[in-house]
Amino acid sequence: MTENLIEIKGLTKDYGENKGVFDVSFELRRGEILGFVGANGAGKTTTIRNVMGFIKPDSGTVKIFGKDAWQDAEKTKPYIGYVPGEIAFPDLPTGTEFLKSQAEFLGVKDLSYANYITEKLQLDPSANLKRMSKGMKQKTAVVAALMSNPEILILDEPTTGLDPLMRVAFLDLLLEEKQRGKTILISSHLYEELEKIADRVALIDSGKILIVADMREIRERKVADFKIEFTKQKDYEAFKKLDYNFIRDQKEYNQLTVNIEKTKIQALFLSLKNYDVKFISEVKYTLEKRFAEIIKNQKEN
């Protein structure tokens, strides 16, 4: 049975002029990574601020382990590790000082786990806080959030500012934390990185949750799309007459895109033997596509 660690119900925070979040409801289940995606200004940070108890909802509730995120803010904090979107450290000289101070706030006496993460992220915390690069600051913030080994991690756009290699390492770390039993809420405006790690992804737009998609539906899709280009127009015309589900037709390039069940791929390739094929490639089914589809369907209905 899945347990909801965070439950958001009917959360509304209206800043006027259509800014804010409106009737947002979703939940964070134990052990999952929930991606939270949306354009800049869509309401990701406002939702997270509500979860963190930094702002008071106009209506609706956020419960963390059954405790109200605004009323009992300090009681929810022992469960949460938080990496803010904008990294600004307190006025302390070095990263080490900051981590020590943060450990005191959290009541963490044993710094071995913090040291482990520090090494894992290849971070040198003795550097001057003010002179740290964006990436180093991000890492320091992550260490601070993880060191008390909380059950829930809340990360507000944690990968912005990291270089591609560092981003991969960071996402690996999140997966590792998930293995250790952590539950993670991560917001991002990049679909790809959520695709890699998330179990579910919630899409927010103009302050409203449009859909919460299960990544298994995408990863374990029964069908695949192939784009085929023919050298001769004759072949293109002939192939078009066959009994396939063509989802895209680009006549000027002699291109056809076929949607086909994965079990029938063999048959498709065999039939292509008879044609002069310039190239064939699989069209990746991405989260973005999935959302586009869903939004399209919703509009049509």
Binding site: R49, M52, G53, F54, I55, K56, A73, E74, K75, K77, P78, I80, G81, Y82, P84, E86, I87, A88, F89, P90, D91, L92, P93, E97, F98, S101, Q102, E104, F105, L106, G107, A144, A145
Partner: protein, 513 residues
């Protein structure tokens, strides 16, 4: 209630600023107190003060000169009258008949001298002096010294005195009372009294006993023996000149006025009027405002005002206010604006704990700052030797009151810091308001009684009504009144209200973290 790590963090973040500002304030304070205390605080003030004392002494001397002249001349008239009366008496004729002219004249002289002594006692009693009192003896001394009675053949009682001051001892022409005309005699007596009363006055004033007595009285006004000598009151010739000038003027004016006496005037009235006009002191001859102004400067406790009003209300508050504005901003608004507050609030630390801890740091650091200035100011006042009403106790009260002002002002800044999410807004309101108070106090200073009336601009006093710093009543502390107590109570109330509202606001508001 209080978060130790947060307090540590605040100390680390603002400690250096605190140390620098505290050092600067203490350094300034010690400089002001030591330099102002050891140097000549105000040459002008001392000069004005001395000029007023000199003028006062001169006026007194002139007054005495006229008194001496009047007393001695009327004494001599009395002597003449009793002497002539004796000559015309039966007793004189009998002695003349039995013992001859010389014996009779001697008897007349002795009788007149005896009666003169009784006259002196009578005058003293009339002036309200008890018999044998110092003043009564002085009256007797004036008349008898001027008269210089003969005690034996060619032996006169006070010759030694006249010789000691380098003058010829006078011989009062007794027989002239019989031979001269009335006008001649009046002139003779007047001249005799004039010459000898002024000699007596000068000789008396420069005598070491008298100088010591006067210096003792002037000690309270900070007049040294050198300064007194500089005024010329230890110089015999100078004192004699002062006395003679005033008596000559007085006599000439008196003669003229009596000759042209108006119907509504009496002779005594003219005498009193002339005496007053010749002996008026410098302050009474100036227009009232100027006189008041000079008296103002003379009576000012410049050191107390400098340390109390100028340093602790303005110069010494400036740096602590700057520190307080920056610290108050850093403690809340700065951290909310930058977002670093998120790290504190994502730990199990209550917002009320954050508020209370930051307020404790702010108030505590200000208290320590003024503890340092209190120590510095007490040490300084013990080192310097200066004439002031400022005591150690008053200094401590001033320091405490300065802290209370800062408490109230920090409440305003802390409130602004808690209300606004943007650092610049918190600075503009919390900082701007406090700086405005300070500027208003500076402007108001020029209109307050602290500034000598000569350069005071009364219209500027209205600035005092718009500044919270005006509730820091240094003058009340200096003058040992209790007004400063209720003013301090208002300040404490303002501070408490601001901090309480700040706590409530910070607990309830949305934070953009």
């Amino acid at each position: 209630m209080i978060s130790k790590p947060l307090l540590k963090q605040s100390c680390k973040a603002n400690g250096l600023m605190w140390a620098i500002i505290t050092f600067a304030v203490c350094f300034m304070l010690v400089c002001v107190m030591l330099i102002a205390g050891n140097g000549n605080l105000s040459k002008t003030k001392v000069a004005v003060e001395n000029a007023m004392i000199e003028a006062e002494l001169t006026a007194q001397t002139k007054n005495r000169a006229l008194n001496y002249y009047e007393l001695s001349s009327s004494g001599l008239y009395y002597f003449d009258q009793t002497f002539v009366a004796y000559i015309n008496s039966e007793e004189y004729r009998q002695i003349y008949a039995t013992d001859g002219a010389d014996a009779a004249n001697a008897a007349a002289y002795a009788d007149a001298v005896g009666k003169l002594q009784q006259y002196c006692a009578g005058v003293a009693a009339e002036l309200g002096y008890e018999a044998d009192s110092v003043e009564a003896q002085e009256v007797m001394g004036i008349i008898m010294y001027v008269f210089n009675p003969m005690v034996a053949e060619n032996t006169y009682r006070f010759d030694a005195f006249y010789v000691s001051v380098g003058e010829t001892a006078p011989r009062y022409n007794v027989s002239g009372a019989l031979t001269m005309t009335e006008d001649e005699r009046a002139e003779y007596v007047g001249d005799y009294a004039f010459v000898n009363s002024t000699i007596f006055l000068a000789g008396n004033m420069v005598s070491p006993d008298n100088v010591e007595k006067v210096l003792n009285e002037l000690k309270d006004y900070g007049i040294t023996a050198e300064e007194y000598a500089g005024f010329g009151f230890t110089d015999y010739e100078n004192v004699k000149n002062i006395a003679r000038t005033v008596v000559i003027n007085y006599r000439a004016n008196l003669a003229y006025r009596i000759e042209n006496i108006k119907p509504d005037e009496t002779e005594d009235g003219i005498r009193a009027e002339l005496k007053a006009s010749f002996t008026s002191s410098i302050l009474s001859t100036l227009p009232k405002e100027v006189g008041d102004a000079l008296e103002d400067i003379g009576s000012m406790d410049l050191y107390g005002i400098l340390v109390g009003s100028i340093f602790f209300k303005i110069a010494g508050l400036l740096l602590p206010i700057i520190y307080m504005i920056m610290a108050a901003n850093n403690l809340i608004a700065g951290q909310v604006d930058s977002g670093s507050m998120a790290y504190v609030l994502s730990t199990p630390t209550k917002r009320s704990t954050v508020s209370a801890t930051q307020a404790l740091y702010l108030i505590g650091s200000l208290f320590l700052m003024f503890l340092c200035t209190a120590v510095c100011s007490v040490v300084s006042i013990l080192i310097v030797d200066v004439k002031t009403e400022l005591s150690v106790g008053k200094l401590l009260l001033i320091n405490l009151n300065a802290f209370i002002v800062m408490f109230a002002m920090s409440g305003i800044s802390f409130l602004a810091s808690s209300v606004f999410n943007r650092s610049k807004n918190a600075m503009a309101i919390g900082g701007g308001l406090n700086i405005f108070f300070l500027v208003a106090t500076i402007l108001g200073l020029f209109g307050s009684p602290v500034i000598p009336s000569v350069i005071r601009m009364d219209s500027l006093k209205y600035f005092n009504y718009v500044s919270i710093i005006s509730l820091f009543d240094v003058m009340s502390i200096l003058e040992s009144t209790l007004t400063f107590l209720w003013k301090a109570a208002i300040l404490i109330a303002v501070g408490l209200i601001c901090y309480c509202v700040a706590f409530k606001r910070f607990k309830e508001k949305d934070l953009p973290l």
